[in-house]
């Protein structure tokens, strides 16, 4: 029959124009094609050419159009008119805003720059903001790393010159077995999903180690529902099995790690446990060819793992000797750890055996000749195709640094770091701790700080202490309490500033951090500190200046608001000087540019800093004649020179013969070149430089050419981290700088230069609070900012507490029930839901869904505020008082990383229900409320 069906236009016009920029719905920084109609954003999709996402886009990225148009966007600078927290503001001009800011900042800088604390949350421009802070002269600068994942970053860098996340990734194309520890989402959101897709398609095996089986762990072929906080023990137990069976890569360990380096064993000596060094300070090994002492990197030297050196009646043995002795000990036998970890001994053995099987029986070889730093030529690249990935699940614990170390050591012992099929670094990493700056804290009124704030300490001399031994920084980073706190400790700023310990500050200047809400521990407490007044009725923290783009909870607690643009309305650069977006096979950086002009009186925060920097006359922000150096951030991005030939962007710089990537002079048209190219620059790593990067001269030379560093700097992996031993020596009484008595024992114990495991349960009162409470990132939400998004909030509008079968039945919970959750610090009332694929003693919820009434331009009865909640109210920045009445920070004793996941709770059925508790009085919305209904369409 004649089938008369309607005619459909199958080739409608898609858009007037496509503008390519970089997503910032999260920190993964994928490339996006923004389809424009009538000059407005019509549709956003992934950029197929982009190194990060190769065309794919996550839920958040695709919802960008609802973010750029969110009713919660701030409209103009504002000054607080009501009480802090009320949300009552008055819109002002930028000139007024700058005047107010100057009236606070100028005197501070002239008298005592340390009275300013400048902390920058989810900052993607740290090389810029830190330059500003350095110019201002305050020691009190950091971004959010300290409460995020510094354990992962620092452990990786101290051990092998880089970690996972944006530093490194599994060799997705070659790996045959991936073990993924404690990851729900990670920064590398899309690449990890793409990678998992790849290895799944290949039928390679994925093992998920996680108390919770969702997301990545749901697709894992095997799930290890480990007891939280015990990964270190589990890892060291597998290491025990592997060493015992000789299933470790001896050749790799000899040549590329400090396993063969000799340790001073002079009993009680001031150098005990430090490397034996030659006169040039080179660590010494025994050369197997000659049997004699030799510098580890000597030409043609083949270091001996089992070497010994006898001198003055003392036998000095290698790091490897010590490792064997420690990890062969029965305390690491599977039987000894099984119960603690909640993994059977048989299972631990099986997994270790599988690692051995894949690493050694299924080794792969690439026919790529390369030359190492000792001048030795290798005709092929041998790979151990087991790979690991890991994130906050192991790092956000007080034993996280040592656990991350343990994992890195395990990979290295298997010879799977920087080898085919294993874990690969992304340029400009690898970069050893020694190649990073040390922390600086010398304050001079009216002048710049003596150097970069953040860095890597290599011993007591590098700590940021004042003459009297007190902390030089408001967050007490780089002190004996956490000597290796490389990212600072943003989570301590507000409580320390409130307590005036180590000293009082005048102005708290923050950017892009919702510190009165989801990014703070002890949220209710922090709210009190922010609003607390002294006897004369002044706020205890006198001034708070804050830059946000949206009507967040933090806005309400600030005195002066510098409204930022949305990510599609400004210039940004994702620089190699910051957190790079490179992939293992390519170096890349990218920009954002105003694909739409703001329709409000807002300004990119970095541009505002250019203005403020000039008004304050900060070095680097004014010309000789004192005039403003950078008109705005775009100007800075193009014209700033960091080191000869090196600026914020590495693409299309001016060289002898035309434009080039890497080093080069300023190119005035650089941003246009980026826009032309789709918003990013990328250059591929040469084939012979693709693996063994730290030891591979092919890579080293290329890295210098690209400008990652100025001279080749090959190095070996630090299984044994000598700086940690130096802190121990101090604790043992050696050296000038001595720790306070109450910290000696803890330092001796926790700063072990070889990975150890210790429990965090006693100090968290696990005997009375037996259940671990965790959070996970929802893939379709970014912290607090997803909720203002009309599409995303339909997916995650509220969050139940997920409870495992055992606890569900113990409390005979039923669907729709509410529970009271109590921690040593506080109590919340929340809805519960059942989950079977969950560790028996763990409960969890989605992170940062709960909102304060009145925030984010949502109705005050929005589900986020009535059925959504934060665990943060239960987590204190200090641990419960211990024996001697002391309260230690709820942080890793080495890095100061916030120990979010050590939270222990009790849970019981609640008779009250319907409104999550604590519940806060609404804040007034400075931007009004959103429209009732939406039907978004530009076309016709």
């Amino acid at each position: 029959m004649g089938f008369n069906q309607p005619v459909v236009d199958t080739s409608p016009k898609v858009s007037d124009e496509v503008r390519k920029t970089t997503c910032y719905m999260c920190a993964c920084r994928c490339g996006i094609n923004v389809h424009m109609k009538e000059g407005k954003v019509a549709y956003i999709e992934g950029n197929k050419d982009h190194p990060v996402n190769q065309g794919v886009l996550c839920a958040k990225g695709s919802a960008g159009i609802m973010q750029v148009n969110a009713p919660s966007r701030l409209r103009a600078p504002m000054k607080r008119v009501g009480e802090r927290g009320s949300g009552e503001f008055e819109e002002i001009t930028w000139e007024e805003a700058y005047d107010i800011a100057m009236s606070k900042l100028k005197p501070i800088r002239d008298e005592d720059p340390s009275k300013l604390a400048f902390f920058t949350g989810r900052d993607q421009s740290q090389s810029f903001t830190s330059l500003w802070a350095q110019g201002f002269g305050t020691p009190n600068y950091a971004a959010h790393g300290g409460f995020c994942s510094v354990n992962m970053a620092a452990a990786g860098i101290y051990t092998m010159g880089g970690a996972f996340w944006e530093f490194g990734q599994p060799d997705w194309d070659h790996t045959k077995m991936l073990m993924i520890f404690g990851v729900a989402e990670d920064h590398d959101s899309n690449p990890i999903k793409m990678g998992l897709g790849k290895i799944k398609a290949r039928g390679a095996k994925v093992v998920g180690v996680n108390p919770i089986r969702s997301g990545y762990n749901a697709v894992a072929d095997e799930w290890v529902g480990i007891t939280p906080g015990t990964d270190g023990l589990f890892i060291l137990s597998m290491l025990h099995c592997l060493i015992k069976a000789g299933k470790i890569d001896l050749d790799y360990l000899s040549q590329f790690t400090n396993a063969p380096v000799l340790l001073d064993e002079t009993d009680g000596g001031a150098e005990e446990g430090l490397f034996l060094k030659d006169k040039d300070g080179k660590a010494l090994v025994i050369d197997r060819n000659t049997g004699k002492l030799a510098p580890f990197d000597g030409k043609g030297v083949y270091p001996d793992l089992t070497g010994t050196h006898r001198k003055a009646g003392v036998t000095h043995r290698t790091v490897f000797h010590h490792m064997i002795e420690r990890y062969m000990s029965e305390e690491y036998a599977p039987e000894a750890v099984a119960e603690r970890c909640g993994i059977s001994a048989k299972r631990i053995r099986k997994l270790a055996a599988e690692l051995a099987d894949v690493a050694f029986n299924q080794a792969i070889e690439l026919d790529r000749p390369w030359t190492d730093f000792r001048g030795k030529k290798h005709d092929k690249m041998v790979g151990r195709p087991v790979s690991f990935h890991s994130m906050r699940g192991i790092s956000a614990h007080a034993n996280g640094f040592q656990t991350c170390r343990a994992l890195h050591v395990l990979q290295i012992m298997l010879g799977s770091v920087e080898t085919p099929g294993g874990m690969r670094f992304k340029p400009p990493y690898p970069k050893p701790a020694t190649a990073h700056p040390k922390p600086h804290c010398k304050v001079t009124p009216g002048a710049a700080l003596d150097g970069p704030h953040l860095g890597f300490t290599h011993g007591p001399d590098d700590l940021c202490l004042r003459e009297d031994g007190s902390a030089a920084r408001i967050d007490k980073a780089f002190t004996w309490e956490n000597p290796m706190s490389s990212h600072g400790m943003m989570h301590m700023v507000i409580s320390n500033a409130h307590a005036g310990d180590p000293y009082k500050i005048d102005t708290l200047f923050m950017y892009m951090a919702n510190m009165s809400w989801n990014s703070s521990m002890n949220t209710s407490g922090v709210i009190e500190m922010l609003t607390d007044k002294d006897e004369d009725g002044n706020y205890v923290i006198p001034n708070i200046i804050y830059s946000d783009a949206y009507s967040s909870e933090m806005v309400a607690y600030s005195d002066l608001i510098l409204p930022d643009t949305t990510y599609l309305e400004r210039h940004d650069c994702i620089s190699l000087l910051d957190r790079p977006i490179c992939e293992a096979d390519a170096v890349a950086d990218a920009i954002r540019w105003p694909v739409v002009e703001p329709d409000r009186d807002v300004k990119g925060f970095q541009s505002a800093l250019c203005d403020l920097g000039a008004r304050l006359g900060l070095p680097g922000f004014v010309n000789e004649d004192g005039s403003q150096k950078y008109e705005d951030y775009a100007d800075y991005i193009t014209n700033h020179i960091r080191r000869p030939g090196v600026g914020p962007l590495a693409g299309w710089r001016v060289g002898e013969d035309g434009l080039q990537g890497g080093r080069g002079e300023v190119n005035e048209a650089q941003l246009d070149a980026y826009i032309e190219n789709g918003g990013f620059w990328m250059e591929h790593v040469p084939e012979d430089a693709a693996y063994y990067k730290p030891f591979n001269m092919g890579y080293q030379d290329w890295a210098v050419k690209m400008g990652f560093f100025d001279a080749v700097q090959p190095y070996i992996f630090q299984l044994y981290v000598e700086p940690m031993r130096k802190f121990q020596l101090a604790a043992e009484g050696h050296g000038e700088r001595q720790p306070p008595e109450h910290l000696r024992e803890r330092i001796k114990h926790t700063l072990d230069p070889l990975p150890i495991w210790y429990s965090n349960e006693p100090e968290n009162l696990a005997d009375q609070y037996p259940v671990t409470a965790l959070t996970q990132r929802p893939m379709a939400m970014y912290h607090s900012w997803g909720s203002q998004n009309a599409w995303l909030r339909q997916i995650h509008g509220h969050n139940p507490l997920y409870v495992p079968t055992k606890i569900w039945e113990q409390n005979d919970f039923e669907e729709g029930d509410w529970a009271k959750v109590v921690s040593p610090h506080g109590e919340i009332v929340v809805p519960v839901a059942h989950m079977a694929a969950l560790n028996d003693n763990t409960v969890w919820t989605w992170n940062a869904i709960g909102k304060r009434k009145g925030a984010w331009a949502l109705e005050e009865n929005a589900p986020e505020t009535t059925k959504g909640f934060l665990l943060n109210h239960l987590i204190h920045e200090l641990l419960p008082a211990n024996g001697d009445g002391m309260r230690w920070a709820n942080s890793d004793p080495i890095t100061g990383q916030a120990a979010w996941f050590d939270l222990k709770v009790r849970i019981e059925k609640s008779d009250v229900a319907g409104q999550t508790l604590p519940d806060f009085a609404p804040q007034k919305s400075p931007v009004g409320k959103g429209p009732k209904d939406l039907a978004w369409k530009l076309g016709k």
């Binding site: 029959m1 089938f3 069906q5 309607p6 459909v8 080739s11 409608p12 898609v14 109609k37 549709y43 992934g46 197929k48 065309g55 794919v56 886009l57 996550c58 839920a59 695709s62 919802a63 159009i65 959101s189 089986r213 969702s214 990545y216 749901a218 697709v219 095997e222 015992k244 069976a245 000789g246 001896l250 197997r288 793992l305 089992t306 000797h321 064997i324 053995r349 055996a353 599988e354 051995a356 099987d357 893939m779 379709a780 203002q788 009309a790 599409w791 909030r793 339909q794 079977a836 694929a837 109705e859 929005a862 589900p863 959103g930 009732k932 209904d933 939406l934 039907a935 978004w936 530009l938």
Partner: protein, 251 residues
């Protein structure tokens, strides 16, 4: 015209890999984005910033927990959109002819110009693949991105559904399931793709690839096969060092 075509030249559809889907909702939102701006009326949202936000979505990702006889429970993310059934009850019940199945490719569409919004087609669909847009009052459903897959204004490689293009894990595949030599058909054969609710007799075109065998301690990792691998080379640290020397000699 609601009589179903006796035969369609192609059977275009999706193949969804439940072994790989991580449940990220990317497909859900990119679908919302594309179809809000394109085919027919926008997908509206009610009470968008209020107490009961709800809106029209053509693709939603469910998640299920499965408890096997032995072994730990499993969690499976489960995306669901129109399956473009061969025997589509949603089409035949439509009084106006707005609902129809295309002869050339088997795509089931709603011609919004004819739709009275009676909702009967949504009642007739077993899979919950149709949603009546509350603003426009017309029936909405997955169009299989009919305005992308043939779209001459898009580069060749982009002529695929928005959800497929965006899926980070590569868990969504698009193609002609009528042609047994197509990649999708091969994939379905290889992985034993299945129909949802076959008993409803709708003959879905879309297929689902079941999750691979999980937590199988016997196939790869049977300790008895692998045991020799962990055979101690020596009882204690001392012994290991002795063994080491020999091992190192061999290098």
């Amino acid at each position: 015209m609601t009589t179903l075509p006796t035969h369609t030249e192609k059977k275009l559809g999706l193949v969804i890999d439940l072994d790989t889907c991580v449940g990220c909702h990317a497909c859900v939102v990119s679908c919302k984005g594309w179809n809000t701006e394109n085919y027919g009326a926008p997908l509206s949202d009610q009470d968008a910033y209020g107490a009961n936000p709800s809106g029209t979505f053509l693709n939603r990702v469910h998640s299920y927990e499965v408890q096997p006889e032995a072994g730990p429970a499993q969690l499976i993310h489960f995306p669901k959109s129109c399956l473009h059934c061969d025997d589509a009850p949603c089409v035949t019940v439509c009084p106006t002819g707005a609902s129809y199945k295309r002869v050339e490719d088997g795509i089931v569409l709603v011609n919004e110009a004819d739709c009275i919004g009676c909702g009967l087609c949504a009642w007739a669909c077993p899979y919950g693949a149709r949603e009546l847009d509350q603003q426009e009052g017309v029936m909405k459903k997955c169009t299989l991105c009919v305005d992308r897959i043939y779209n001459e204004n898009l580069p060749e490689e982009d002529r695929q559904p928005a959800c497929v293009r965006t899926c980070p894990a590569g868990a969504r595949h698009f193609g002609d399931l009528g042609d047994e030599n197509s990649d999708v058909s091969k994939l379905v054969a290889e992985r034993g793709g299945v129909d949802l609710m076959p008993e409803q007799g709708t003959k879905p075109v879309n297929k689902y690839l079941p999750p691979r065998l999980k937590d199988d301690y016997t196939n790869t990792g049977d300790i008895d096969i692998l045991a020799p691998l962990l055979e101690p080379v020596a009882p204690d640290a001392k012994g290991i060092l002795g063994w080491l020397d020999k091992a190192l000699e061999k290098l």
